[in-house]
């Protein structure tokens, strides 16, 4: 039968921290950028101009219905064909950002809608410019509302980052595949890599739950008789 042997992977262990850092770095970068994309996207989708609303809606629908792998291929190979040769890492960041940005747009849009017209009106009636309205009144409230779906989105990005290994990025998944294939200890490599992703995903999950508890203690519901 199969001899389970973790020590066989020891020689590859020194590459693992770098792989983990790559995964985390790639994910963090994509999440940050996708928040910016989501902010712009949600403003598009709630704009007064039909053209912007359509563009925003089209972006969201297209990116949510196309597999992430295809987006990565489009960016990596597609751009190369036009003459833009970019690294696997950059392609993965762009693709992940575009993909997550679509979901982020919807999450932020939902959050904005949940805030209620009254807040906008109160702020505007106090002579705030649109920028001020968003900066001082709307966006501080949005996170409190959307932190849960936002957390799930972050997990999605971390798991999606695994596809970057296909275009050459040396992340946790590519580590597992290299180690497993070379040492023939695929199962062990799989378990280790799997545990790392599990820890990352559940870590974000715990953060999400913790954020919820913290916000609850602040008692910020607006109306109470």
């Amino acid at each position: 039968m199969y001899q389970f042997n973790l020590s066989a992977t020891k020689s590859y262990m020194e590459q693992l921290p770098w792989a983990v850092l790559t995964t985390l770095g790639l994910s963090a970068l994509a999440i940050l950028l996708s928040v910016l994309v989501g902010l712009v996207g949600s403003l598009f989708r709630t704009s007064r101009w039909w053209a912007l609303r359509f563009l925003g809606g089209a972006y969201v629908e297209v990116l949510r219905n196309i597999p992430l792998l295809i987006v990565i291929y489009l960016v990596y190979f597609g751009l190369a064909q036009i003459g833009l040769r970019i690294s696997g890492f950059s392609s993965a960041v762009i693709a992940l950002t575009l993909n997550a940005g679509a979901y982020m747009t919807e999450v932020i849009r939902g959050g904005l809608a949940a805030i209620g017209k009254g807040q906008f009106e109160a702020a505007r009636s106090q002579a705030m410019t649109p920028v001020q309205v968003y900066r001082y009144v709307v966006f501080p409230q949005v996170f409190r509302i959307i932190y849960a779906p936002f957390g799930n989105l972050c997990i999605g990005v971390v798991l999606g980052s695994a596809l970057a290994s296909i275009v050459g990025v040396e992340d946790v998944t590519s580590w597992m595949h290299t180690v497993g294939s070379n040492s023939f200890r695929y199962l062990e490599a799989f378990l280790m890599a799997g545990s790392i992703y599990l820890v990352m995903a559940q870590g974000v999950n715990l953060l999400r739950i913790g954020t919820g508890k913290y916000l609850l203690s602040h008692s910020t519901s607006a109306t109470r008789q």
């Binding site: 597999p67 295809i70 190979f77 798991l159 695994a162 597992m176 799989f190 799997g194």
Partner: protein, 218 residues
């Protein structure tokens, strides 16, 4: 742009790739649905051990990238059990497990949506637990599950593109092969992206229509 060249010469490959994708995702949805239903009932079981297992099951498959599952079921099992699984079997396994964790949630919500009043009425007329499920709960839950099940199908269709990495010739892999032959990446992937979009967007509209229809009934 050699657009006409791609479409005219290779449309058969795009078509077969599309059909393969639709078929394997459907298979995974059906098998995953059965497995997910079992897990869902475990989740609602009175035995704590089953509940914990079911919870761990769903959390596990939501914390692992699909790519890992494909690698694991193709390379991992081959190395570990010294068998040579073909890409189709591996891909089906990986997709089935992924779909099952999603379906477990869908089925659980569906069953819970059937109000406790129904349970009380049924058990009051001396039905066993199994009979209540069979005649009262499942028929109603099935209707509630259809719209989100559409969503699971869409998700599985997208995940199936990763099967291309282990060599299974579905739509994405077909695209890669065509790309190698013609050398034009952008056009090929654009066509593939369009195919995925049309299918998935269409399905999401169906799902929305189903949801509206059932909302009126309830």
């Amino acid at each position: 742009m050699q657009f006409d060249d791609d479409v005219t010469h290779y449309w058969r490959f795009f078509l077969s790739g599309t059909l393969t994708t639709l078929w394997i995702s459907w298979l995974a949805l059906m098998l995953g649905g059965i497995l997910g239903t079992v897990v869902a009932h475990m989740r609602m079981s009175r035995i704590a051990a089953l509940r914990i297992f079911a919870l761990g099951y769903t959390e596990f498959f939501r914390s692992i990238p699909p790519l890992m599952l494909f690698f694991g079921s193709y390379y991992g099992i081959s190395f570990a059990l010294d068998v040579n699984l073909n890409p189709f079997t591996s891909a089906t396994l990986a997709l089935t497990f992924t779909a099952s964790s999603l379906m477990a949630e869908v089925v659980r919500s569906g069953i819970e949506s059937v109000g406790t009043g129904q349970w009380l009425a049924a058990t009051a007329s001396a039905m066993t637990r199994l009979q209540v499920f069979r005649y009262v709960v499942w028929p109603q839950a099935l209707r509630v599950c259809l719209p989100p099940a559409t969503g699971v199908y869409i998700s599985t269709l997208k995940d199936s593109s990763v099967a291309s990495v282990i060599g299974y010739i579905e739509l994405t892999r077909s695209g890669l092969l065509i790309r190698e032959t013609t050398g034009s990446s952008f056009d090929v992937f654009l066509i593939i992206a369009t195919i995925y979009f049309v299918i998935n967007y269409g399905l999401s509209l169906c799902g929305g229509a189903l949801e509206r229809r059932f909302r009126i009934v309830h």
